[in-house]
């Protein structure tokens, strides 16, 4: 193996070697990444890091049993050992009659806008400049803000070859900035964060991310406890994206086929109010999770997961599709998993301001982790960054409060999706409202 070999050459050679060793089905993924990041602490530069790496992963099936081996670098001995190990492990695995086959070639032009020469050409000085701009912007708003965070970029290329004849190459870039602002005034603390990311430099506003973090920190000062009760829950763009993403992830066909998901038996049935429609689209130009093919080489197509409140589709890889006698939806990962791509909830007719205005009593959750239990669908979550709302007005931030319920009880009570949304490359994040949610507070 030499430096002049392309990653596709390397993958193709490894596939041949694996087949010669007894692999019945095989695919190999290889590539390289280069990263630069700058860390910000106490409103100054803390450190600058850079990394370069090459990875190769081989997946082998023998009588349906799967062996997988990954190796860093391109040392020939290591790579040959990985190939042999993957084949040996596949032979040790229990035969699985549910495995049908790996995907066949289905060429498609690559999605536009995955690689930006401007990002690829950036050096540490450019990343430092973005970090310094953010520090200055934050201090201009609040002089003694304690700002922390990071600015980083990644440039990658890779290839996939399979024993079925798939031969794909791709490359991509990404750049992001994440900032956390902390403001202390006596015993009072305001803390919040914001971020921006994209594949293209021009799709981002990285120089002023810290301003929103600082404004958020100011908004979250003066938090108070609230009493327990049932009330409306309004999820802002970040909070709604987290919840809707978790629900789409639960539409993983393997979890459903194995009988361990709260979505078992729900395909084609209503699980939410008719206000909710979510499309997964891996073909969005410049989308962070975009690509013409999934990690197994299956061609992607837009897929409606929830339509008018009904669970319209599950996310399949080649294994689950073969087991179900259907086609893969293009959500396979190379290691055998299933993952959503870019999520596009259908927008509604009311603005986010109107959705909040109609709340008599409730919580506005700006950001927070609402993770339904993958089996039961139960939710028991902290109101990490939330406000108490009365008569359509935000009254104050809340402290030490939680919310509980079952996702299958809450989704039918979703009564509004906003017409406006936070837009990020490959993500639409609306505001949504759910009525009659149990809130637990520390007051009273």
């Amino acid at each position: 193996m030499t430096q002049s070999e392309s990653y596709l050459d390397i993958c193709t050679v490894c596939v041949k070697k694996a087949v010669a060793l007894g692999a019945e089905w095989c695919d190999v993924d290889a590539g390289a990444t280069r990263d630069i990041s700058v860390t910000i602490e106490k409103s100054g530069i803390k450190a600058a890091d850079a990394g370069q790496g090459e990875d190769l992963a081989i997946r082998v099936y023998v009588r349906g049993g799967m062996g997988y081996a990954a190796v860093s670098g391109r040392d020939k001995k290591d790579v040959d050992e990985a190939v042999a190990r993957a084949v040996a492990l596949a032979k040790e695995a229990t035969p699985d009659p549910d495995f049908q086959r790996l995907p066949a070639p289905d060429p498609a032009p690559e999605v536009d806008g995955l690689y930006d020469d401007a990002v690829a050409g950036m050096g540490v000085e450019d990343v430092v400049r973005i970090a310094v701009s953010n520090i200055q912007a934050a201090k201009a708003l609040v002089g003694d803000v304690n700002l922390s965070g990071s600015v980083g970029l990644s440039v990658g290329e890779g290839a996939l070859a399979t024993s079925t004849g798939i031969a794909l190459e791709a490359r991509g870039t990404s750049i992001e900035a994440v900032f956390e602002a902390l403001i202390r005034r006596g015993d009072d603390t305001g803390y919040y964060y914001d971020f921006d990311f994209g594949r293209f430099r021009e799709d981002t506003s990285l120089d002023r991310v810290s301003e929103e973090a600082v404004r958020g920190a100011l908004r979250f000062m003066g938090a108070k406890r609230i009493a327990s009760g049932r009330m409306a829950l309004v999820l802002g763009p970040l909070a709604s994206y987290g919840l809707l993403g978790a629900i789409v992830s639960a539409a993983n066909a393997e979890s459903v086929q194995r009988g361990r998901s709260y979505l078992v038996g729900k395909l084609g049935r209503k699980i939410a109010s008719d206000k909710l429609t979510i499309v997964d689209n891996g073909l969005v130009p410049r989308g962070m999770r975009s690509g013409a093919h999934d990690g197994e080489g299956t061609r992607r197509h837009p897929l409606t997961i929830i339509e008018g409140g009904a669970l319209a589709s599950l996310l399949h890889n080649s294994y689950t599709a073969g087991k179900a006698g259907t086609k893969s939806t293009g959500h396979g990962t190379h290691s055998g998993g299933i993952s959503p791509t870019n999520l596009y909830p259908a927008l509604g007719h009311e603005t986010s301001a109107e959705i909040l205005r109609d709340v008599k009593e409730g919580i506005y959750l700006e950001s927070g982790e609402i993770r339904p239990d993958p089996a039961s669908g139960d939710i028991s979550a902290s109101i990490d960054f939330g406000f108490y709302v009365r008569d359509g007005q935000i009254v104050h931030p809340v402290e030490s409060a939680m919310l509980g319920g079952s996702v299958l009880d809450l989704l039918p009570r979703l009564d509004a999706v906003s017409s406006d949304a936070r837009l990020e490359p490959g993500a639409v994040m609306p505001t949504i409202r759910i009525q009659d949610v149990q809130v637990a507070g520390a007051e009273g």
């Binding site: 850079a50 902290s382 637990a440």
Partner: protein
């Protein structure tokens, strides 16, 4: 690898670094997934590379490569020096490093059964035993069973410009069993896991009863459980929840980088009485075989036990060489890097509350109404606000001084400093069995946590029903 690490350190010194350290890491790992009676996913991984960290003037630079070739190592040094120099003028809090005596040592921690010494088929056979035990316990109610196992060995060489050269070999193994039970109307999960700083001997030591059967019993019990109520309660924490409390609520706040950065609620609180009398909290990386243990940290400081809270008083933080210098404190051996491509940062290891004096029966006997939280699953914390969240896999109502009806999984949330003060009973028992991977700044570290049963007043329980 030693020669390469020494060479890069020498070059770093010659080229103007005030301090530099070089780590080479070679890791091998294998994992097995047994599901529904089949070993259907077997994986292996090999990973090796070098990380070079330099202190130039007032700033850190760090670069890594997935190769142990001299040319790539030299390129890492070039990059690290350039990164530090490009950033130095914007540093407001100059980097520092504690001066400690150099150590030359070799620390080989050979497991009882090295990962490679047990054939894969034998490991699979044992995992199938765990699974069968769970399925036998749960009968037809078990709809999905999953047993995962992974083990790995790590060889590391650390050299620094102070003259330290340490070669370590370590291994870890972890085994997890998930049983999903259903009754036609609802699904529930039961999980058990074990982890050690060691090798495949974990499979000899762990019985099918304690892994498979226990996971199945938990899932079955949850099918009969009711949703937890919502509101503020007096609660009793099982040791696994006590572990989450000390790890999430206190431990992350005691990591000295967060304190120095002004982000931790423990800033300027050293010496203050922060917890109830009788509460003592420790972090100990030197416990033989514990999941979070090691011989030397990633900067070459020997492992040791550190006291964070002593009888209610905050007495110490978890330090790296940098934070020790900034606080004029002793390094505590708490700097950990996940692999060669990560900078060492202060981390927890095995974190626990010390045993108290109150028997469980007395703790619960004095409680007219409350909730007993068991089976710690996960948690997280906002150190800046001092707010933490812990998730219990199951719970029980406490009524009239006795355990009442079972409750489903539920989370709690509270403010760290309030909770530490609201502890009014520390149990005379102890358990530390929460092996897991803790995340911080994009790095994972093997940790464990535990303690005795404790009783805490005024905790918010995020249940589904009104109180």
């Amino acid at each position: 690898m030693e020669d390469l690490a020494r060479y890069v350190c020498d070059q770093a010194r010659k080229r103007g670094a005030t301090f530099a350290d070089v780590r080479t890491v070679h890791r091998r790992a294998e994992s097995i997934l047994v599901q529904d009676g089949r070993a259907d996913k077997l994986s292996a991984g090999v990973d090796r590379g070098i990380g070079v960290r330099v202190l130039v003037g007032r700033c850190w630079g760090f670069a890594s490569a997935d190769s142990l070739e001299k040319a790539r190592a030299t390129q890492c040094l070039d990059d690290a020096l350039a990164l530090a120099r490009a950033s130095e003028q914007f540093v407001t809090d100059p980097a520092m490093i504690a001066h400690v005596a150099p150590i030359q040592a070799e620390d080989r921690r050979e497991p009882e059964i090295p990962p490679a010494a047990m054939p894969v088929r034998d490991k699979i056979a044992r995992l199938l035993e765990y699974e069968r035990a769970g399925r036998a316990e749960g009968g037809r109610a078990i709809v999905n069973s999953l047993v995962s196992y992974s083990d790995g060995q790590r060889e590391e060489v650390l050299a620094n410009t102070a003259g330290t050269l340490i070669k370590t070999t370590s291994s870890r193994a972890v085994c997890t069993c998930l049983m999903v039970a259903g009754d036609g109307a609802m699904l529930q999960r039961g999980v058990e896991n074990r982890g050690i700083a060691g090798g495949a001997e974990i499979l000899k030591r762990t019985t099918p009863e304690e892994l498979g059967q226990r996971a199945a019993r938990k899932a079955l019990e949850l099918l009969r459980a009711k949703p937890a109520p919502a509101g503020r309660f007096t609660v009793i924490f099982h040791p696994s929840i006590t572990g989450l409390l000390v790890h999430e609520a206190l431990g992350h706040n005691a990591e000295a980088d967060a304190v120095w950065a002004g982000e931790s609620i423990l800033e300027n609180r050293l010496g203050d009485l922060l917890a109830a009398a009788g509460v003592s909290i420790y972090d100990d990386s030197s416990i033989p075989g514990e999941f979070g243990s090691y011989g030397y940290d990633s900067e070459g400081t020997p492992s040791r036990r550190r006291t964070i809270i002593d009888n209610g008083k905050l007495v110490g933080f978890l330090h790296s060489l940098e934070t020790a210098a900034k606080f004029s404190a002793e390094p505590t051996g708490s700097a950990r890097a996940e692999s060669y491509d990560c900078r060492p940062i202060p981390r927890m290891t095995n974190t626990f509350m010390g045993r108290g004096t109150v028997p469980f029966e007395k703790m619960i006997g004095g409680l007219d109404r409350g909730i007993y939280l068991e089976d710690g699953h996960w948690g997280y914390v906002f150190v800046q606000k001092g707010q933490f969240i812990c998730h219990a896999g199951r719970a029980h109502m406490i009524e009239g001084g006795r355990l009442g009806e079972p409750l489903r999984n539920v989370s709690i949330s509270s403010m760290t400093l309030d909770t530490l003060k609201h502890i009014d009973a520390v149990g005379d028992d102890f358990e530390m069995r929460m092996p897991g991977m803790c995340g911080k700044q994009g790095q994972s570290a093997a940790t464990d946590c535990g303690g005795p049963h404790v009783r805490v007043q005024e905790v918010v329980v995020g249940g589904q029903g009104g109180e």
